[in-house]
């Protein structure tokens, strides 16, 4: 399982990459593996929207299940990966790269500090056993 050291993670399997004041978010390798082949992606907020941590970031559907992606941080949406809707399989093939979902200008950087680092997330995944 791939868990990049520079990312932060949530208990609901989203990842966050912070560069300056901009957070990029997506779902982890663990999440895509659990979901199996993703066949549908819908990103909820649009560019310019102000969003709150815990709100809806996206909806994913695989052949097995539908899953919500939660917003790990609050702020203003500066970019949305519109290409993902046409290539949902990217979530499986490149979850930390081409399958990024949103870029958010952080309004409360303290939220990032509360997230798990890679080591803690790895332990969290192991705890769940699969």
């Amino acid at each position: 399982m791939n868990i990049p050291a520079e990312l932060k993670f949530t208990k609901t399997d989203e990842w966050v990459k912070v560069e300056g004041n901009i957070a990029t978010i997506g779902v982890s390798d663990f999440a895509q593996e659990q979901l199996s082949d993703v066949v549908f992606v819908e990103i909820v907020p649009g560019v310019g929207e102000t969003v709150k941590a815990g709100g809806a970031a996206a909806t994913l559907e695989s052949v097995k299940a539908a899953a919500d992606v939660n917003l790990p941080v609050s702020g203003k949406v500066t970019a949305v990966n519109a290409a993902l809707a046409d290539k949902p399989e990217t979530v499986n093939t490149d979850p930390y790269g081409a399958a990024w979902m949103l870029k958010i200008e952080l309004s409360n950087p303290a939220e990032v500090a509360a997230l798990m680092d890679a080591a803690a997330y790895e332990a969290f995944c192991k705890e769940r056993g699969h």
Binding site: D37, V39, F40, E61, V63, K64, A65, P88, E89, G129, H130
Partner: protein, 490 residues
């Protein structure tokens, strides 16, 4: 697939029906541009049409062909007497717009069915109107909303859904305008009470409880759970899809559940899964009776010494309104009524006891060969993990597909989501010991195959008209039209 489509069987000029020569003056054709010459209507003889559809029907798998252990769906045998009763001319040839004086028999049957469902569930009022379980859920949650609104309690915007609930519950709540909040299960598969308490506040509208839950487990703290929700001012919705496990033993109304739907097409043996429409009556506790959909069947003139009572349609005082045309799926209600009448009170209890016994018997025969994540005595169904730690790359889906090679309908798979690689098995009470033994042997054989010849599972099914379908491609490249004209339509 061996059977061609009816379009491929078509032969130009062939006819199934020959019309006699007209004995009246032919009418003028309407605007010719409305006649679509491009439609490729198949041309076949009657015998070829009959053979085509008979061949297709033989490819179908149904509960009349064999065991259908589709967890959560209660695919029990549908007794033929139900069909006989639904076809009685007095039921079959009535119209819902007839004057009520001319359909007293049908109304009496509906009234009695409402009464029986009240007795079975411990509720004070029942509507038979909802078309199926999902609409029953919607009705139930709309009643919860109407209840809070009628009290001016408008801040209650949140519905809690345990992660062991049926998948339709969150959709129902969202569709009714509520915010949906999941509640986790504890290690024994019960609702986690501490997690529940943490989210109970004055914005709580209710909780949707599936009990027994989708793990096939009866919540060991159900009374405490309901009490917590009630103390926070919320109502408890009961998902009655698993009623087959507790009928005649536990009454949801007695537990304190406020509103619940029934699935007549599950618990009460009416056709199911493409075999006919469902029916999802809703039962409510006393404080919700006034909110039931319009209309319910009631007695509008009491019986006298000479006359029986006059049954009719009654509008509840604070009704959420009409939710379905006419009086629900009446023909299905006749079948369920027949089922209740054939079994009686003791018989209904036997059904649930036998459903639970059958599930536990089957589980006891196979549990050594499979992983049972929640190791408890089950109710009417159980959930396995369809993977083995010592077998790489064999999944629940492969087991499900391999079962088709042995002429069984696969169990529900990948649900509930809280079990990794879930296989959810519900044999129902209508299966004999011999059928259960044979199915258990097959499951054991498949477990052995997984270890010795895993490719048999991975490439399954081998003996069906169509092999393994590409589910990913089917979901990504949707073809929503069965026929695309070669030339543009004029």
């Amino acid at each position: 697939m061996s059977e061609k489509t009816i379009f491929e069987l078509s032969s130009p000029g062939r006819q199934g029906v020959r019309f006699p020569a007209p004995d009246v003056t032919p009418a003028e054709l309407p605007d010719e541009s409305l006649i679509r010459a491009d439609l490729p209507l198949p041309e076949l003889a009657e015998v070829d049409v009959i053979r085509h559809f008979t061949a297709l029907s033989k490819l179908n798998y149904c509960v009349d062909s064999g065991l259908y252990p589709l967890g959560s769906c209660t695919m029990k045998y549908n007794p033929r007497i139900n069909e006989d009763m639904a076809r009685l001319p007095g039921f079959a040839f009535t119209h819902p717009l007839q004057p009520i004086e001319t359909i007293q028999g049908s109304l009496a049957l509906m009234f009695q069915m409402q009464e029986w469902l009240k007795e079975i569930s411990g509720f004070e009022g029942v509507t038979l109107e909802p078309a199926a379980g999902a609409q029953g859920e919607l009705v139930g949650v709309l009643i919860i909303r109407a209840y809070h609104q009628s009290r001016g309690d408008t801040k209650r915007t949140k519905i809690l859904i345990p992660d062991s609930a049926h998948g339709t519950n969150p959709a129902t709540s969202a569709m009714s305008g509520f915010e949906v909040l999941p509640v986790p299960s504890d290690a024994r598969g019960n609702v986690d009470l501490e997690a529940l308490k943490a989210v109970c506040d004055d914005t709580l509208a209710g909780l949707m409880l599936t009990n027994p839950n989708t793990l096939g487990l009866f919540d060991e703290h159900v009374l405490e759970l309901i009490d917590i929700v009630h103390k926070a001012g919320g109502l408890v919705y009961g998902d009655g899809a698993n009623l087959n496990a507790i009928m005649g033993v536990v009454r949801p109304g007695d537990l304190g559940i406020d509103v619940m739907h029934f699935n007549l097409h599950k618990t009460f043996s009416t056709p199911h899964g493409g075999g006919g429409p469902g029916s999802g009556p809703v039962g409510v506790a006393k404080h919700l009776v006034d909110f039931l959909p319009d209309p319910v069947v009631g007695i509008i003139e009491d019986a006298t010494e000479e006359m029986p009572p006059l049954y009719g349609f009654v509008t509840p005082a604070k009704t959420i309104g009409r939710i379905k045309s006419f009086a629900g799926h009446f023909g299905v209600i006749v079948r369920a009524y027949t089922y209740v009448l054939m079994h009686g009170a003791e018989g209904l209890r036997d059904i649930s006891e036998m459903a639970v016994l059958n599930a536990n018997y089957l589980l006891s025969k196979i549990r050594h060969a499979y992983t049972l994540p929640y190791n408890r005595t089950c109710m009417h169904e159980f959930v396995l993990e369809g993977v083995w730690p010592d077998v790489a790359d064999v999944h629940a889906l492969d087991i499900a597909k391999r079962l088709m090679d042995y002429d069984y309908h696969p169990p529900t798979n990948y649900f509930p989501l809280i079990v990794h690689e879930a296989l959810m098995i519900e044999p129902t009470e209508t299966e004999s010991k011999q059928t259960l033994d044979a199915f258990a042997e097959t499951l054991l054989k498949i477990a052995e195959e997984a270890h010795t010849t895993p490719e048999l599972l991975k490439e399954a099914p081998h003996k069906t008209p169509i092999g393994r379908v590409d589910e990913v491609r089917a979901a990504r490249d949707l073809v929503l039209c069965c026929w695309i004209p070669e030339e543009p339509v004029k």
